[in-house]
């Protein structure tokens, strides 16, 4: 049960962002730009960074949601599955593997990022902006994961829920839906 009363039809992060819309606004803006804005990393690649950090923070809700978003963007589920087990085995570019390893270091601590990891990413062709954005995405998911779990929000167990959420993130991104989330109330009624 969440530590404070939150809208029951909005599990995970969504209920928190609706509870505190003033603080949600800059978080949504940042996420929309860094995960969906113009970038030499594809939205799928950026979702992989979000997924590996959430996975390492053991945040069930965020891991499932961003795995679903990455799966939907990639059109397959294999990449996320393999990446979570072993970044080196993931069917992504050498550059992405190097960036995912930096993200994994950021998850531990900013100070855990090594010169070697950064130099290696640059050797694989990563630009300064790509390294910057990787570190910021990884930092942002350390925020999200702590927000979601620190408030003890509900993480649904039904895989279909995350498939739907992942598709919503692909279709609409991270801005607040123009008409809010009241339409989701009906779907959660017992049938």
């Amino acid at each position: 049960m969440p530590h404070i009363p939150l809208p029951e039809h909005l599990p995970g992060i969504t209920g928190l962002l609706e509870y505190s819309r003033l603080t949600a606004e800059p978080i949504r803006q940042l996420t929309q730009f860094i995960l969906r804005g113009e970038n030499s990393l594809t939205p799928a690649e950026r979702e992989l960074i979000a997924t590996i950090v959430s996975h390492n923070n053991e945040c069930r809700f965020c891991t499932a949601a961003h795995t679903a978003a990455a799966d939907a963007l990639l059109g397959e589920t294999e990449t996320c599955e393999i990446m979570k087990r072993d970044i080196d085995a993931a069917p992504v570019s050498d550059k992405m593997r190097a960036l995912l390893k930096i993200a994994k270091q950021v998850q531990v601590s900013g100070k855990a990022v090594t010169q070697e990891a950064v130099a290696f990413a640059k050797e694989q062709g990563a630009t300064d902006v790509e390294i910057h954005d990787t570190v910021l995405i990884a930092g942002l998911f350390c925020l999200y994961n702590r927000y979601v779990d620190g408030m003890a929000t509900v993480a649904p167990t039904d895989p279909q829920f995350y498939k739907g959420l992942g598709q919503r993130l692909v279709d609409y991104g991270y801005n607040r839906l123009p008409n809010g989330y009241d339409h989701l109330k009906r779907q959660n009624q017992p049938t």
């Binding site: 509870y19 053991e58 390294i131 350390c142 779990d149 620190g150």
Partner: protein
């Protein structure tokens, strides 16, 4: 030297990163403004203390010192009381409620999952409401991001408290959104 080539290496901490990527600086500054100076049952001084404390736990000197300086500016305390944040608040007056919230913030710094029902109940017993708890957890989570951003990109930070005096005054009383990049360059 930072891990990436910043256009102005003289700018410390997050300021150099804001200058490198203005597209993300905007929402990051707005987030700091909303969290630390927007509406909350917690005073800005109390919120800056939480921010500085979490940054200390993350060993991020720039954020610890700059937000510590902002807290001292809000409280009207001597700048060097920043060091008291590292010493577990022996001198700075911390209410039982704020102490319970700082304990929660310390848990969030480790992991969201480390926050227990007992931690929350203890804060409520000292008078913390839903919004106090929410704001504390979100500030601690946000500094888990800011600290990683600043350290993960290898930015530099001035060592002495004195270097953060004016920065803290500006953060406290001018705020984060109209934060002038150039002003910091001149100061440090």
């Amino acid at each position: 030297m930072a891990h990436i080539a910043l256009p102005d290496e003289s700018l410390p901490g997050i300021v150099g990163l804001f200058n490198f990527r203005p597209e993300t600086a905007g929402p990051l500054q707005l987030l700091a403004e909303t969290l630390l100076r927007g509406e909350s049952p917690l005073t800005s001084g109390e919120r800056e203390l939480i921010a500085s404390y979490v940054s200390h736990l993350n060993d991020t000197h720039f954020c610890h010192s700059s937000h510590g300086s902002a807290a001292m500016a809000h409280f009207g305390y001597d700048l060097n009381l920043i060091d008291d944040i590292k010493n577990g608040f022996e001198v700075i007056e911390v209410s039982p409620k704020l102490r319970a919230l700082l304990h929660i913030a310390g848990k969030v710094q480790k992991s969201g999952k480390a926050v227990t029902d007992e931690d929350i109940a203890a804060a409520r017993a000292e008078g913390a409401g839903d919004k106090d708890i929410h704001d504390t957890i979100l500030i601690a989570a946000a500094f888990s991001m800011f600290n990683r951003y600043v350290d993960g990109l290898g930015t530099w930070a001035p060592q002495e408290n004195e270097a953060y005096r004016e920065m803290g005054q500006r953060m406290a009383f001018t705020g984060y959104v109209r934060y002038s990049v150039q002003a910091d360059a001149e100061e440090v």
